[in-house]
């Protein structure tokens, strides 16, 4: 073992990248540095890491031709013009959806929506790791089918047995929702 360090070269090399990036705790950093001071092989390895990352960082991207970015913006503009405008979730969309689903009576629909809302909340709490804004494709598909996932606030405010007023006004909600089924945008 070169350098007579307490730590072997293999262990040190495992840490060279983290050392280069300043991610080691003080004790580990000092251990690595003590080893590097006496080990030519590991110092060469550290040099290669530094060189590789420096060169990779400097690798250029060929400059696009003149007018490229103007065309780029225009192309994006053209393409999004064909896409329905994005909208935040709104209670009217849930209400419209509830009014439009064939075969669903208001109370079962509200019950289903409330249960689904609770399940979603429980699921979110249980699976929460890092905040994620873009859900997996499967979740998008489920939410799209049910059009409820984004309207928990509304669902939480609906009292299943007592909020008769909402039930009585479903016709009005239907009118507000129009014929279009709400989309998840």
């Amino acid at each position: 073992m070169p350098g007579g360090s307490m730590t072997g070269c293999d262990d040190i090399r495992e840490r060279l990248l983290a050392h280069h990036e300043g991610e080691l705790a003080t004790e580990e950093r000092l251990q690595v540095e003590a080893h590097l001071a006496t080990c030519a092989d590991c110092t060469r390895e550290a040099g290669l890491i530094r060189e590789a990352l420096g060169r990779v960082q400097a690798l250029p991207v060929p400059e696009p031709p003149a007018g490229f970015w103007g065309d780029f913006e225009a192309a994006v503009r053209r393409r999004i013009a064909a896409v329905p405008p994005p909208r935040p979730a709104a209670w009217a969309r849930v209400a419209a959806w509830l009014g439009r689903v064939p075969g669903l009576r208001p109370i079962p629909a509200l019950a289903a929506a409330t249960v689904l809302g609770l399940l979603l909340v429980i699921g979110l709490v249980r699976t929460h790791r890092a905040p994620r804004d873009l859900p997996p494709v499967e979740a998008l598909m489920v939410s799209e089918d049910l059009a409820i996932g984004q309207n928990l606030e509304v669902l939480q405010n609906l009292d299943l047995l007592e909020d008769v007023e909402v039930l009585e006004r479903l016709d009005l909600l239907r009118q507000l929702g129009g014929d279009r089924r709400p989309r998840l945008s």
Partner: protein, 177 residues
Amino acid sequence: MRQPDLEVIQRVLAGETAAFELLVRQYQQEIYRLAYRLTRNAEDAKDLSQEAFVAAYRSLGSFRGHSRFSTWLYRIAMNLCLNHLKSATRQDPSEVDGTLADQRADSLAALLTDERDRALAEAIETLPPQQKATLTLRVHQGLSHKEIAEVLDCSEGTAKANYFHAVRALQRKLQAF
């Protein structure tokens, strides 16, 4: 002074859809370069980065602002690029490591006068897509391992391991000189 992304997003969601162009203008070069570094093909990079903006526009209502908009946008762009790379591999796996990789590296190789740079560019082309993506996000976009994990939908440990293996492969390449 630039308007914060979240404010621009709120304007778009409130119906001022033209404000989305501010986001396009702000991030188009970054997203294009990201796509280019992964595909090494200017035409593919253009298509994929445009597609990323269209997909972001379509899903803008689901953006909650828990992460930076750029991280969210990277995630969309990365998914598109990785799917693109996977489908290219499915079409003809032999081409990715050989002819196709050489063709992709051509336009970049023309810019590289140093043979060590050229060797590194070739080595990056042969990395598995996840490692290549991790390397790009870390080295060029300056993302933390946590952010990379978020973008690539993997654990932080996996992101670190991918980065470690990618750098080791490049290190080996330089060592061979």
